[in-house]
């Protein structure tokens, strides 16, 4: 559309970082309407920028929610976009304020079948293509688990960072594989991240009842010869258990039992199992 089409094409990154001036912004927005590759780039770049933003997170001021809530309560919500052909996604129907068009993104061809439907497109409809994305999310999950543990046990930040580095290293390793598995004899599910050689693993278990006072879940290596302790699972206060396992040396299952929180040399009963 623009004679500078080629130029505009290369501005997606700058657009995603809000590094353009008003007229360039508009030019890119027009170009995005007709450039599918650019829309895909923009989506990736915005997700990337969102990661930069998330890394800046700090606790919001107390009382902010109260203000937001009060203001929202007297703010009329816009209805879903009508499926008008060619209607611009972000910039129409807006009352001035250039800052309000953070959603200045054109609708995708397949996204505008019908008004309200557009708001509930499930996230899973987007293909989770490779591991890195999952890894990022898992890293967050682990950090949450670690966070609760750290606070509960007043552990030092250094320890946390060492542990975090270990988790990071596993998650960042190119051969790391993700497995989602049921936990036998229970309703629980486990997510396991295994290093390329399956010697180091991180396991996250969701759905087991909380261990009572003085008890905790213990992890076991299960192989032909029997069982060895693989350490205690840490509970994050929200029902998720996490453990790091090293030296699998041929074990093909991990076992889980509830034991006294100091741990036992051998499981006191037949463990629940997770195939790895």
């Amino acid at each position: 559309m623009s004679p500078r089409g080629y130029d505009v094409h290369g501005l997606t990154a700058a657009y995603a970082l809000d590094a353009l001036e008003g007229d360039e912004r508009a030019e890119v927005e027009a170009h995005l309407e007709e450039c599918e590759d650019c829309r895909r780039d923009l989506r990736d770049f915005r997700e990337t920028a969102a990661r930069l933003g998330t890394a800046e997170a700090v606790g919001p001021p107390e009382g902010l929610w109260g203000k937001v809530k009060a203001e929202a309560a007297r703010t009329r919500q816009l209805p879903p976009k009508a499926a008008e052909a060619g209607s611009e996604a972000g910039t129409g129907a807006r009352s001035g304020g250039s800052a309000s068009d953070g959603d200045g993104r054109p609708s995708d061809g397949d996204g505008d079948g019908g008004g309200p439907g557009a708001t509930v497109i499930p996230f899973r409809s987007r293909v989770v293509r490779g591991l890195p994305w999952a890894v990022a999310a898992a890293a967050v999950a682990v950090a949450v688990a670690l966070g609760a543990v750290t606070v509960d046990q007043a552990r030092r930040m250094d320890d946390l960072q060492a542990h975090t580095a270990e988790v990071e290293a596993l998650l960042a390793a190119p051969g790391t594989e993700r497995m989602d598995r049921p936990v036998s004899e229970s309703e629980a599910n486990a997510t396991v991240f295994a290093s390329g050689d399956h010697d180091t693993m991180m396991i996250m278990v969701k759905g087991l009842p909380p261990a009572p006072e003085g008890k905790a879940y213990q992890l076991w290596y299960v192989d032909g010869d029997g069982m060895r302790s693989a350490g205690m699972l840490e509970e994050d206060g929200q029902g998720m258990l996490t453990g790091m396992v090293k030296g699998m040396s041929g074990a093909t299952q991990l076992g889980i039992t509830m034991e006294p929180d100091t741990g036992m040399p051998e499981p006191s009963k037949e463990p629940m199992k997770v195939d790895v």
């Binding site: 353009l20 770049f45 953070g102 989770v128 990022a136």
Partner: protein, 196 residues
């Protein structure tokens, strides 16, 4: 390798959960909206604070952003990206526009020069540990950029410069900054494992 969604394993509000909360919020459900707020207030406020270098202004922006999210919730388009990305896009845009509108202030410019990504005050509340890990990851990935790529990203994303202003500040041609921004962002995307 299975394809289950990470949010299920995460035990907290993941991408799916946020989408659901926002969908409910779009129908006027204030409780769901509070869920969205709780999940994203830290990143939104932090982003605004980082760009504006001013606590009070950042709070104003964060408030505007969430009211905007409430207003526009029904117009969120999942095909164009995740909820977090959508909300933070609004937040960053607002913060940057505010910076630009007061750009005459020489005072601010001098503060920008000193602001490094690592200097964000550490937040010791437990929920923020995930953010600490993210910060660490981002820091590591920023460290893998070339000096010029990093400066270009820093001046634009963190300090709110236009690419033209960044070129002037870095004393390089505009085309160079364009290229570095793009290359830098691609490298960050890959390093951070973004799979939108």
């Amino acid at each position: 390798m299975d394809e289950a969604l990470p949010s299920r394993a995460s035990g907290r509000t993941g991408a799916d959960g946020l989408g659901e909360l926002l969908a409910r919020a779009s129908l006027g459900d204030m409780e769901a909206f509070e869920g969205v707020y709780r999940e994203l207030a830290g990143p939104v406020f932090g982003t605004a604070a980082r760009v504006l270098l001013d606590h009070a202004q950042a709070e104003e922006v964060a408030q505007e952003v969430f009211v905007e999210v409430w207003r526009q919730a029904a117009r969120y388009d999942a095909a164009a990206g995740g909820v977090r990305s959508w909300v933070l896009t609004i937040a960053h845009r607002r913060a940057v526009d505010r910076v630009r509108s007061e750009q005459a202030s020489a005072d601010r410019t001098s503060r920008v020069g000193r602001a490094e990504p690592q200097q964000t005050p550490a937040d010791e509340v437990p929920e923020a540990v995930e953010h600490r890990l993210e910060r660490e990851r981002v820091r590591r990935c920023l460290g893998r950029l070339t000096g010029l790529q990093r400066e270009a990203v820093r001046l634009t994303y963190y300090a709110g410069y236009t690419q033209r202003q960044a070129a002037a500040a870095l004393k390089v041609p505009l085309t160079t900054v364009k290229g570095r921004l793009r290359d830098g962002l691609i490298r960050l995307r890959d390093c951070l494992g973004v799979e939108a």
